[in-house]
Symmetry: C2
Subunit: 502 residues, 2 copies
């Protein structure tokens, strides 16, 4: 019908196919690849990404986008053609400014810094990665500078992960959240009287796996359209609208690890599986932003999986799976155990209350590094100081301090962390909206009916892919902008009950 | 040192990376992919192959090859530079003649005909695929016609799999083999008195798997550089010089299925893992031909794995693995059971004696189809007639007759089958040469020392990759051209003993 639109779609699909192939190669690398395959695998992925970048920044795409702009302008913004042209142009204008040589240099440095980090972390050797991180910071600033007129040097980097968001807007949200979270945490700590010993027993992994598959199926994950595999650092990756892969890990001495990582990654997967399949292979066939994506993993993990309603229906099944470990444990002990709050050193092990404190201090440190208020050499000390002031714990070393996360050592400094907390804020807002829209939702969840919630999320969020931004979606779905109230309301109420706060 | 050679290498490596990625996607498709991922996966692989074809047939590569010819001419032909330029030119001149549109049409037709075959085979419905196969034949002839001056229409198709071989040369070899094989088979059938009941008991698959892994490790397969996974139709695929994947299947009621398919595919893998790593990512980093590759899978499967010497050392381990099934079975019963000769309908189930009869009749039918002596509508009847005349069995239907193999329904008619029998011929010649070079080889195999054989094969064959053709390699290693004597000598001696022929 429109040959230029067809040509655009064909070219974008080629880019999408190359990126999907890179995802398959990366998934295999972290699940099944024999160890010595790593060197060639890095080259294969780099080649695919280089060709995808070259194909996407081809001048012909710019010309097509220019020629198609009048068509887009003639349509309502949520029309799929208009959205495709708008989102593709957004990505195109961002990527075309980055010279291919620079992109290749960044890619190469990311691989080298990852290799350095893999050695330095177990050796507790920040000095070994300091020059690498200084170079990362320099390259991150250069990458930012390709975008003209940024208010803060972090803004273009944030925008790559959470389109439309800025450092100043996020800083304001985070300042409010921290101001309300720290007192809550103090009250919980003062109350005490809880622990997670009920879920820290020996739980054979094959039984954990069976139970998690049952839960993930209950969530609506379709094993004809995806699968679950083991890996060291769990993630979700999408190869196609009908092929989404979850990866998880298990700890035979801790029930929470496998089950909640499976629910978390399945939440991401349900989002991807719910995107309108007509968007497949185009820039619209993805989640709206990092934060929006994380909101869905956290909604399923925390608002369903760590909720009392869910376990009212499922705890008997869990007890039947682990009769020796849980047969005599009452739900009243199990529910606090999976919601045990304890300030700790490691972000990925953190509970629902303290998690955002980990994220927000990283975000602040990123901004300070990028705008020059903090030097890389002073980072370990700044990290330690923030853990003491925000969480009340002091890292004994850099291994479990500033070296714990891969993010700064496998890409850029800037933009990698804010999505986690934006996701938590949005998850609370969206779940509250779902409860308003579905008055019997708690009862349905107690009955094990998660399909109603999934349908509502698909209809409200998932199907739209990238047609709307995260801010637009939150406004549409909840009637309010992204904010702190819903999360604080949820945390105060839930942990007020568990810890008997007044 | 030589910027044009560096540029050529860089371009060839990009092509190699795209093809390696396609191999990963195909491997995943047949091992782990959820069923509904198939449609998108086909598109991803087609995109990678299209881009690889376009990159390889870029005129710049032709110019580089022309410019580098004087360099190649100044070197001995086995010099890596000379070999690279020669082999790359050979492939380039073959592929550049095929228009991209035609290649895409062929690819699309292959996918469609595979989809048709997948339905038609279980339905025993040759009529459903007849028009598809007629189109395949037409496209195969067109593909052949892009090569000027072929003596037989099949020659360019054979040359793609077994470079340098021709229909007339292969027909002469096969005629001699059939003339000597059919009388041997008649004598074996007349002797009788053997069966495979000892290996047709219940063998739990996990124990089969453990035993096969032990054998494959004994062969020298390095699990740091490869792995074994399950699939429906076993194959080997190479992602890199340090990442080679074997796929196998198992039958809990037949011990031969898993073990010998693992040894077969591991033979292919040892070849790939033995290629000089400096050839990785270039056209030299592969086996010399289909036939040469198959010679190595068959050497390890038949000359080691179905040999008496191997089991003198390993049978006690097998008995310990399956004490209930094999504890009281003497080796004198086990060895004939794994070498039970019985004419049957299905090529992939055939024993060492009858296997080549299956292959050769397919090869003859391919030639007749291609040169017009046989029409597709008459193919099922021609197939039946050849099974009766060559193997003495009559297919009851097309499902286990002409529809049994995927080859004609997933590519071209022509070139797909001869490599199996060429491989058997070469395997016998190479193993005889190894025995001459390593006088204590039988004793070493009895001791479980397979490393000496592997080292000799690596040195004689594997390391060379595609530097030499199969014919050149056979001449270098055995002192003779590819011929029938070694295989017939082996079969007559081995099965003469087993069946008590005089």
């Amino acid at each position: 019908m429109n040959p230029k639109l067809d040509d655009l779609r064909r070219r974008l699909c080629e880019v999408g196919d190359l990126r999907a192939a890179a995802c398959v190669l990366h998934w295999d690398q972290t699940t099944y690849m024999p160890p010595k395959g790593a060197v060639s695998r890095g080259r294969h992925i780099a080649t695919l990404e280089r060709l995808a970048h070259a194909a996407f920044t081809d001048a012909a795409i710019g010309t097509l986008l220019d020629d198609l702009q009048p068509h887009a302008d003639s349509l309502p913004p949520e029309h799929p053609d208009a959205a495709l042209i708008r989102v593709a142009r957004r990505d195109y204008e961002r990527d075309v400014r980055v010279p291919a040589d620079f992109a290749a240099e960044l890619e190469e440095h990311a691989a080298a810094s990852y290799a350095a980090w893999i050695k330095a972390r177990p050796a507790n050797d920040f000095a070994a990665v300091r020059p690498v991180l200084e170079r990362t910071l320099d390259l991150s600033r250069q990458l930012s500078n390709f975008t003209p007129n940024a208010r803060h040097v972090a803004d273009p980097l944030i925008d790559r992960q959470d389109p439309g968001m800025t450092a100043s807007e996020i800083s304001a949200l985070f300042a409010e959240l921290r101001a309300r979270l720290v007192p809550l945490l103090r009250r919980i700590a003062a109350a005490g009287g809880n622990d997670d010993s009920a879920v820290r027993r020996h739980f054979p992994i094959s039984a954990q796996r069976d139970f998690a598959r049952r839960v993930v199926a209950l969530m609506g994950f379709d094993f004809e359209r995806g699968r679950i595999d083991d890996t060291a650092h769990p993630f979700m990756t999408t190869f196609a609208s009908d092929d989404v892969r979850i990866t998880v890990r298990a700890d035979e001495h801790f029930l929470g690890e496998h089950l909640f990582s499976a629910m978390h990654e399945a939440g991401h997967a349900l989002y991807e599986l719910g995107v309108d399949p007509v968007f497949e292979g185009t820039p619209l066939g993805d989640g709206a932003s990092n934060g929006m994506h994380e909101s869905q993993s956290r909604l399923w993990e925390n608002f369903v999986g760590r909720g009392r309603d869910f376990w009212e229906g499922q705890f008997a099944h869990l007890q039947a799976t682990f009769p020796d470990q849980l047969g005599t444990v009452p739900l009243d002990d199990f529910y606090p155990a999976i919601n045990y709050v304890q300030p700790s050193l490691i972000r990925t092990d953190a509970d629902e209350v303290t998690y955002n404190l980990h994220v927000m201090l990283r975000f602040d440190l990123e901004l300070q590094l990028l705008d020059g208020r903090l030097a890389v050499r002073d980072l370990p000390e700044a990290w330690r100081a923030r853990y003491v002031s925000d969480l009340g714990v002091e890292p004994p070393d850099d291994r479990d301090g500033v070296l714990q996360d891969v993010h700064w050592f496998h890409g850029t400094v800037g933009g990698a962390f804010q999505g986690y907390t934006l996701g938590n804020l949005i998850s609370a807002q969206v779940f509250a909206a779902a409860r308003r829209a579905l008055p019997d939702l708690p009862e349905r969840i107690r009955r094990g009916d998660l399909a109603t919630l999934l349908d509502w999320l698909r209809h409200s969020i998932y199907r739209h892919g990238r047609v709307f931004t995260a801010a637009e979606l939150v406004q549409r779905v909840t009637g309010a902008p992204i904010g702190v109230d819903a999360l604080m309301h949820h945390l105060s109420r839930k942990y007020g009950e568990i810890y008997g706060l007044d």
